[in-house]
Structure formats: C-alpha cells, structure tokens
C-alpha cells in the first residue's frame, strides 16, 4: 500500500555557515493510512520541523517529501495550498480558531474554501460537532468555550475537509490532564472508526501511551521507530 506520507533523506537546515543548524538530518519516515503515530523527543529535536515538512508548510533543504504520492517540491504555492486544504488537517497547540467566527463557522470555513455547497457544509458541521461532543455549542465563539472545547472544535475543523491525514503539534499541551486525555480518546476513536491517519508531536506520556507507533527524534535524527 502506498504510504500517505513518505520522507526520503530529508534534511532541513536553518542559518548559514557557522550558524547553520541541522533541525532535521537525513530523516526517512513512512506513514501508512490509518496510523496513530506520535513523533516524540526533547525540545529542539526537530518534531515541529518534521511536521512542518510533512504538512507542506515548509520545504526541505535536501531530500524529498511525498504526500499521497506527490512530491511537494514540484507544487506551486497555490497547488500546495489546495493540497493542504484537501488532504491535510491541522490541529494546533494554541487551537488557533478564528476568534470572530463561531465554532460552527470555524468548522464551515475550510469547507467554504473547498467550494462545498452551503447545505452540505451545514450538514457536515452538525456531524462534526456531534463527533467531538459539542452539540448545542456551535454558535459560541472561541472566547466563550473552554480550552478543551476549543481544541475539540479544532479537531472537528481538521476533520471537516475529510483529509488523508491529520497533523497535530502538541495538541494537549495547553490542556489540563483530564481534558487532554478526553481529547485523545476522541481522536483515537475517530482513528479507529473512520481509519483517519493521525500524526502527533508530543512530550506527553499519555499520548505516547495511546499511540500505536512512536518515532523518536533526537538532534534531528530518527533514533528509534517503534510500533506497538
């Protein structure tokens, strides 16, 4: 089966000459459909950089990144935007919902970008809110939702476009322990029921415990790659 994500000898350097730092050093990783993978490692190990690259938000200094079989280096800016919109869902550490839109509208926004007709958008929004357990809270703006609720809206937004993969950078870092676990359970459930692919970067032991595969990064290199 073709992997959803494949990095081949990817390097990403920041700075030049003496100040040059290798955030990623010849990283080759394959993520299959339906995986629930955690990228772990200490701060500065290159977790976020790896997620940036596999999310098409950044380009590697060398090596190749394939998203659903497509080399992102061959895409123009607009093609990459379209690709992210249709194939990748993002969950951010700080939720990053649009503050002036309600929960429903935040979820609807990405489908608007996809050109989904209004009636289907509204139907899908209701479906997503039910999935993440936020029925009845759709008309609230982010400021009137708790951190856990906002992150659940972010999960719903990431899933609304029906992406091939969801990338989450420390999704529970701003949540208390119980809320974080509850959110993880929702994502795990979505992974199992809908076979949605999740890749996390995390420090949290609870995420590591729930992940089926752990990719250990240290100093920009893959130290270990374990499947449970």
């Amino acid at each position: 089966m073709e992997p959803v994500i494949e990095t081949r000898n990817v390097c990403r350097y920041f700075g030049e000459d003496e100040t040059r730092v290798a955030a990623l050093d010849h990283v080759s990783v394959q993520i299959e459909r339906g995986e629930f993978t955690a990228v772990i490692g200490p701060s500065g190990s290159g977790k976020t950089t790896l997620l940036h690259l596999i999310g098409g938000l950044d380009n590697p200094s060398s090596g190749e990144v394939f998203l659903s079989g497509t080399n992102i280096a061959e895409m123009s800016g607009t093609e990459l935007s379209d690709f992210r919109r249709d194939h990748i869902g993002f969950i951010f550490q700080a939720y990053n919902l649009i503050p002036v839109l309600s929960a429903e509208e935040n979820i609807e926004y990405i489908m608007l970008l996809q050109g989904v007709p209004a009636n289907k958008r509204h139907e899908r929004v209701r479906e997503m809110l039910n999935l993440v357990g936020l029925e009845g809270l759709g008309d609230r703006r982010p400021a009137h939702l708790s951190g856990g609720q906002q992150q659940r809206v972010a999960v719903a937004r990431a899933m609304a476009s029906n992406p091939d993969i969801i990338l989450a950078d420390e999704p529970t870092a701003n949540l208390d322990s119980a809320t974080g676990v509850a959110l993880l359970d929702i994502m795990r459930q979505l992974n199992e029921e809908l076979e949605m692919t999740f890749v996390f970067s995390t420090h949290a032991q609870k995420i590591m415990d729930r992940a089926r595969r752990l990719v250990y990064l240290e100093d920009g290199k893959v130290e270990r790659d374990e499947s449970k």
């Binding site: 950044d58 607009t78 550490q93 990053n96 002036v100 839109l101 509208e105 926004y109 996809q114 989450a168």
Partner: protein
C-alpha cells in the same frame, strides 16, 4: 456570505482602530465634499455675477465688435436674427442692445462712460438692471429716462430728476450727438467697474442718439440650460457664427474668469489628491497594523488551505467595508455640513475676484458629490489595500507559525 461575515467582524476586533480609520477616510470625504461645494459655489457665484448682472450667458455681435468695441460694427438688420434667436428652442430669453462710449455731463461735473441702450422689458429676463435699482424707477420707455450707478451719481453730484446730458459721436457721420435726460434711477450692481462707468437709456433713444436707425450692437442671450452656454459646439453657436456675425459664450468674453474657474478646478484636484494621499497612507498603516496583529492567524489560514488569492480577497473585502462605512458616514456628514453652508454661507464678507464682487461665500450641494467622490474614495481605498493584501498573501505559514505548527 461567511467571508463577508468574517471580514465585517474582523473590523470590530480593534474597534478603536477601525473607528479612527473610518473617521480618517470619512472626514477626508467630508473635506473633499466641502471643498467641491466651495469651488462650485465660487464658480456659480462668479459666473452668476457675470452672466446675470449684465452680460448674459452668450452674446451675438457683428463679427469683430468685441475686439475693440468699435461701434461702427453694428448689426444693421437685426430683426431676422432676433426672430431666429427667439425661435431657438435652447434659448430662454434675449435682449437687444446698443452700446456707445460717451460723455455724461451734469451741471456740476463730467464723466466718461459706456452708454447702454436697452429694451427695458426684455432686460428683466437677462440682466439685473431692474433689481439693482436702489433709488428711483426702472426704465419704462420714456425718452428722457437714464439710469446711473451710484458712484457716478456721486461724482456728477446729481439726484433723482436732475438733468444729465449724454454726448456721443454718431456712428456713420462721426458728428457729435447730444441728448438731455433726467436721472430716473440710481443703480448699484456691487461691481465697482460697472457702477462707476455704465449708463442705461431706452433702446430706441440710443438708436436715434447714435444714429443706428434699427441697428443694434449686441443681443444678450440666456439659455434654458446654463450648461449649454459653456458648450461651444452647441447648435446655437453653430447657427449664429458666420462671416457677418459671431455668437460668443461668456467663456469667451470673460476669459479671465474662465481661466480662474479652470484654476479652481485644478485647485480642487490638488486638494483632493493631498487629502486622499493622507487618508491612503493612514489606511495603509491601519491595514498593516491589523495584518501584523493577525500574522499568526493568516499563517493558520494559509496552513489550512486558504490560497494567497483568498487572503488578498479577505484583506480587500475588509478595506472595501471600511470604505463603504467611511463613505456613508462621510456622505451624510458632508451633506449636512455642505447644506448648512449652502443655506447660511461662510462668513467671509464681500470680496472681489477678477473684478467680480462676491457677497459672502455660499457652497453648493450637487448629487455628484455623493456619487462620484465616494466612488473615488472606494476606488482609492481598494488601491491602497493592494499592497497590504499582497503582503498578507505572502506570509509564509511555517514562519508565521514558528511558535507551534
């Protein structure tokens, strides 16, 4: 709809900044409306003074007459021309005149002046002579009637009913011709040159005095639509311009005022450009502040798939909404300010521009001020928003999201 909602709500994320931006653009529009109102007011006042006081909006003469007011160049058979003028659908009123330089003498003093022989009835629709009478009576066709300006009356040291002798030279023979009048009315146009140097007598008396028989020197004309007077391609001008006679617009016989109006238009343009430039710089600054505050959010928007064009569209939509709100506010306020000054005037006293005395300054409200000017404001705001919009569209998501994915 969602994008519109998003753009609209974004305006209220920093209400103070949005209000200040709207005020900046809106007050610029108010200033522009008022400037335009003042300029139109001055123009209309000047044009009105010129055309309504005496000259009319257009004049027909024997070709070359106006070059040096040679009274030998008169229209010998005016009736066919007058009939055609009267039949012209564009013309509202006309008045035939005889003009001759002459000497005006009283028992106490003597003055030089320009003698106008006028048709008293027809002049009412063309000039302000009747309305300018401050003492005595208007012409009624009586042979001995003469109207003089107040300064000339003071110079001649006469009063109503006193004898006045007018001396001119006959057109054909060059012989001296004199006529005795009794001062029947004192006029005051408010234009010093006119009050000091003009005398008005009845047309038939003037024709006899100057020896013209039925001849006249001038037909002053008023159009139904004053704008037609400025259009030199108008059928009227084509019809009455030939080898014998010429029809001239007030733009031709008052070139200084016409140039001044053109200059005033350039003035409005320059003021408009300066105002808009200031407003534009303020707007660009405001949009950039708004973008910098939301740079992380734009990074997120791009990360989840908003195309650069979508980001440009959003910023432009926000700018468009600011422009619309500013224009509504500016137009409403501009209308009230301009209307107030139109009714009450700007208290500047009376002042003279190119020999034309303007009594106070009254602005003018015209519909174009609330269509054309706001249209330019919207256009300019959109142009001003292009640079910030492109800047926002070029935000690199990975850079904007450095703190997190």
């Amino acid at each position: 709809m969602l994008l519109l909602k998003l753009a609209w709500r974004n305006l209220f994320r920093n209400v103070r900044r949005t209000v200040l931006t709207v005020m900046l653009v809106g007050f610029s529009l108010v200033a522009l409306i008022l400037t335009d109102g003042i300029m139109i007011g001055i123009q209309e006042s000047m044009v009105g003074t010129i055309t309504e006081t005496l000259a009319g909006e257009a004049q027909i003469h024997r070709r070359g007459f106006l070059d040096d007011m040679d009274d030998e160049l008169y229209i010998t058979d005016p009736d066919p021309i007058i009939e055609r003028v009267a039949a012209n659908e564009a013309i509202a009123a006309y008045a035939p005149r005889v003009l001759s330089a002459g000497m005006i003498t009283s028992p106490y003093n003597i003055a030089g002046g320009l003698i106008y022989g006028v048709n008293a009835d027809r002049e009412v629709s063309i000039s302000k002579i009747k309305r300018a009478i401050v003492e005595g009576d208007y012409l009624s066709g009586s042979t001995r009637q003469i109207l003089l300006g107040k300064p000339m009356v003071e110079l001649l040291e006469v009063s109503l009913g006193d004898r006045i002798v007018v001396t001119v030279s006959e057109v054909e023979t060059g012989e001296i011709s004199q006529e005795l009048f009794r001062l029947s009315g004192i006029i005051e146009f408010g234009v010093p040159a006119m009050d000091e140097g003009l005398a008005f007598i009845n047309l038939d008396v003037a024709q006899r005095l100057v020896g013209l028989d039925e001849g006249i020197h001038e037909i002053a004309v008023r159009f139904k639509n004053p704008e037609d007077a400025k259009n030199r391609d108008h059928a009227f001008y084509r019809e009455f311009n030939n080898d014998e006679i010429e029809a001239l617009s007030w733009l031709d016989f008052s070139p200084a005022v016409s140039a001044l109006i053109e200059m005033a238009n350039y003035g409005t343009l320059i003021i408009g450009i300066v105002l808009f430039l200031l407003a534009t710089l303020g707007l660009i600054n405001s949009l950039f502040m708004s973008i910098y505050e939301r740079i992380y959010e734009f990074g997120v928007a791009k990360a989840i798939g908003t195309t650069p064009r979508g980001i440009v569209g959003l910023v432009m939509l926000e700018a468009f909404l600011i422009a619309i709100v500013s224009c509504v506010m500016g137009s409403v306020l501009g209308y009230h300010v301009n209307s107030w000054y139109e009714a009450n005037g700007i208290p500047l006293g009376s002042f003279e521009v190119e020999g034309v005395v303007l009594q106070g300054l009254y602005t003018k409200v015209v519909i174009e001020q609330f269509i054309t000017l706001p249209f330019y404001v919207v256009l300019l705001v959109l142009v001003a928003a292009i640079y910030p919009a492109i800047f926002a569209a070029r935000i690199v998501p990975a850079t904007a999201l450095q703190r997190s994915l």
